[in-house]
Amino acid sequence: MARVEVEGLTKRFGRVVAVQDFSLKVEEGELVSLLGPSGCGKTTVLRCIAGFERPDAGRIIVDGQVLNDVPPERRNIGMVFQTYALFPHMTVAENIAFSLMIRGRPREERERVVKEMLELVHLEGMEDRYPHQLSGGQRQRVALARALAMRPKVLLLDEPLSALDAKIREELRGEIRRIQKTLGITTLYVTHDQEEALALSDRVVVMNMGIIEQVGTPAEIYNAPRTSFVARFVGTMNLLQGRFESDGHFVWKGTMFRIRPHPEIRGSREVYLALRPERLKVASLPEQIPPDHNRIPGRVEWVTFLGPIGRLTVRSNEELLQVDLPSDEAVRFPIGSLIWIHFHPESAHLVPKEP
């Protein structure tokens, strides 16, 4: 198992800067996700680590060894591709044993590893199938087994679930986590799916336009986004643009809110107040609101049924806010009803406004 360090990585394609001054340390056995919209540079970082792209600046270090000048075939880093990239002319067993065949390992060892790997990914008995005889989920399991067969120091996964159906995606997501934990392998996972990143990772790196927006545990990323980009990209968020006053209040369109202080925000300045829909409550009369709660009057514009929850879209001060309530509660507020949104000061989070 290995430690991965990326130091000041920069990569340009022509005049486009794909990744700028990217630095990250991944501890042994850790699973770190690179999360961001397409074109944010997350895949480029992964491809630099695998050796398919040459960094313009910065260093890739695995276990203290600088890999910049090592060709991909000598890095011993496993990779799983979005398109599976299974060799179509080889059986499942031949695909999995490819790295061992290339290294000239004896047949008994290859057969033993294939068996082990198929057990690990729950595809026992599929040795002689060809890739086209497998479902998408099975193909990705084979790809994972193939990448792990040579006992790589590091595992890289490039949007491995994007081509799969929602149901299979969720199932395989759990499998990947289980296998990663079992082997304790240091893993970098690229995805544009924030839910996937939160569900899988020890830490998440949120990227946008080639730079890191925030690094943190899933809970930190979700509960305390550091930038408005992270707040908007991860989960659903109401962002109220207003003013932080030096007395510690937040003022939004003439209404004053009591809030929890933010270590980096002092003095009077423009900020965002981030409110998760599920942290908001709704009352039909102001008397029902606890005295220490902040309150916003509004009118229900739309109700979306989402199974366990109902999402109210509420118009207030010419802006639309989302509120999630348990389904049975949501039906008590039909479209058009006048309501009060209220929340505890601890439920809101200040986000600095970029200049």
Partner: protein, 301 residues
């Protein structure tokens, strides 16, 4: 309360005018096919059957299989079969390998350039074989421009020249058709090669030559064999350009057929038997190639 008594499931029944429209449409489509069927019958099926039957009778109209016995016993025919097989194989290989090479280079170009160059490159295929033969005679004939220039530069005697009229020369002229043809089929095959297959192989420890040996070549092979089938079939029947170049000086199956169908050696039943054998050889070779390609393609699907 919803009324449950009246509503019954009504079977969709085609009305008389709908049926008529449908059959009218079908009839119209069959009519559109008719010229093709007539054409096929008159110019392909009828001559083939006729030729097959006539090859079984001698010139006086008595039934015989002597024409077929001749094909496999007379030295001139046996040489012709051997030459045709060798020539078609050589020309297909030159075209196949050359075309694959050009296609591999072409797919690396930016798409606009690639498409422009490929269309330009396909131009030779539209030219008449006679025109191409003449062009090569002017360039590379005994006193062709290129031979003259090379002799002048190196001060060589007039007995030294590139011989366009021997097998290597003939194969080279046909490469002029065959390479572009193969390039077009292989360009599509290369474009369909998923680049992440190559990356996956390198990631798993394969050095560049091993990537070719174990991944790229096996994946491309079905498409290559399909392209080779087209090459081989074309070359078994090669006729116009070679006739223009060397006349009857070379012994090919196609030239033998021509000679027995029109020259002083006129013997239509014999020409028919030779043609049937030519078709049989080509069909067998194609069946073998496509069997191989299908076996490989089934894995690649």
């Amino acid at each position: 309360m919803p009324d449950t008594t009246v509503t019954a499931v009504r079977k969709p029944v085609a009305r008389w005018w709908e049926v008529r429209q449908l059959t009218a449409l079908l009839r119209a489509e069959v009519l559109l096919l008719l010229p093709f069927v007539v054409f096929l019958g008159l110019f392909e099926v009828y001559p083939l059957v006729n030729m097959g039957i006539r090859s079984l009778f001698d010139q006086d109209g008595a039934f015989t299989i002597q024409n077929y016995v001749n094909v496999f016993t007379k030295p001139q025919f046996r040489t012709a079969i051997r030459n045709s097989l060798l020539f078609a194989s050589a020309a297909s290989l030159v075209g196949g390998i050359g075309g694959t090479f050009v296609a591999a280079l072409a797919v690396r170009l930016p798409p606009r350039w690639r498409n422009f160059l490929l269309s330009l490159y396909a131009l030779p295929m539209t030219l008449s074989g006679l025109v191409v033969a003449f062009a090569f005679i002017v360039l590379l004939g005994r006193n062709g421009v290129l031979n003259l220039i090379v002799r002048r530069i190196f001060a060589l005697p007039p007995t030294v020249y590139f011989n366009l009229y021997d097998w290597p020369g003939i194969v080279m002229v046909y490469a002029f058709f065959q390479i572009p043809l193969m390039t077009l089929s292989m360009a599509a095959v290369f474009e369909n090669l998923d680049p992440s297959l190559i990356e996956a192989a390198r990631n798993l420890g394969a050095r560049p030559w091993q990537v070719w040996r174990y991944v790229v070549i096996p994946v491309l092979l079905p498409g290559f064999l399909a392209g080779m089938s087209i090459q081989f079939a074309g070359m078994m029947g090669a006729f116009g350009t070679v006739l223009a170049l060397v006349g009857m000086a070379k012994n090919l199956l196609s030239l033998q057929i021509y000679s027995h169908a029109s020259e002083s050696t006129y013997n239509l039943p014999q020409a028919g038997a030779l043609s049937i054998v030519l078709i049989a050889i080509t069909a067998t070779a194609l069946a073998l190639l496509s069997w191989g390609a299908r076996r490989l393609a089934r894995r690649a699907a």
